[in-house]
């Protein structure tokens, strides 16, 4: 049973560029959440996708956008990259709220460096 997978593992971009990160959820899961973890800090919630729609959003600017595909995989897009966007981006999968399942399972993350 494959867990949550993310690609790429590492990425180096220049300020102003755009980046796309990808996530495949754990088998059987239908909800994908994205988190940003800056160095030395706890993960911060970016947004959550369920049924191909953004269901919840954290305090992140519109430069951060996403998508969920019919097979439940997801993409995180960041436009006009800033130095402060450098972080570990974590994808987590789960079953939808209200199903009786509670924990989220995290992928290994994508380390984004903006220079």
């Amino acid at each position: 049973d494959a867990g949550v997978t993310q690609s790429p593992t590492h990425l180096i971009k220049t300020r102003g560029q755009q980046v796309t990160l990808r996530c495949s959820p754990k088998s059987g899961h239908d909800t994908v959440s994205w988190y940003q973890q800056a160095l030395g800090q706890g993960p911060q919630f970016i947004f959550q996708y369920y049924e191909e729609e953004e269901r919840q959003r954290g305090n992140f600017p519109d430069r951060f956008s996403g998508h969920q595909f019919p097979n439940y995989s997801s993409e995180l897009n960041v436009n006009a990259l800033l130095l402060g966007d450098s972080a570990l981006y974590l994808c987590a999968s789960s079953l939808a709220a209200g199903t009786g399942s509670y924990e989220q399972y995290f992928g290994p993350g994508t380390r984004l460096t903006v220079t």
């Binding site: 800090q41 706890g42 993960p43 919630f45 959550q48 954290g58 987590a92 924990e103 995290f106 290994p108």
Partner: protein, 117 residues
């Protein structure tokens, strides 16, 4: 709004001694509480959760946590620490009100645990 505080940036403990990592939370309603562990250059690994019922919950690798509603705390414990327990530990909360918060997790800042031989 929901929040989590982990008051200790680092906890040092000798191998074989008890380990405690502290966590307090704030939510508008009742909480779901979680502990995760992160090893270097890795994602977060689920350890245990409190949903309802018994205040003492047991999880993976010998860890347990005690939910204390009056003190709004959810401290992580292990009776006998191992060197391999050295890692970064995160406490997280989710508001039980589904409409209010879906299943968004709010994390604390993390506590680094160092277990010395």
């Amino acid at each position: 709004a929901q929040s989590v505080a982990q008051p200790e940036d680092q906890v040092n403990v000798a191998e074989g001694n008890p380990l405690t990592v502290k966590c307090t939370y704030s939510v508008s309603g009742n909480p779901y509480l979680f502990w995760y562990v992160q090893y270097p250059n890795r994602g977060l690994q689920f350890l245990l959760k409190y949903i309802t019922g018994d205040n003492l919950v047991k999880g993976s690798y010998g860890f347990e946590a005690e939910f204390n509603k009056s003190q709004t705390s959810f401290h992580l414990k292990k009776p006998s620490a191992l060197v391999s327990d050295s890692a970064l530990y995160f406490c997280a909360v989710r508001d039980k009100s589904i409409k209010a918060a879906g299943n968004k997790l709010t994390f604390g800042g993390g506590t680094r645990v160092l277990v010395k031989p």
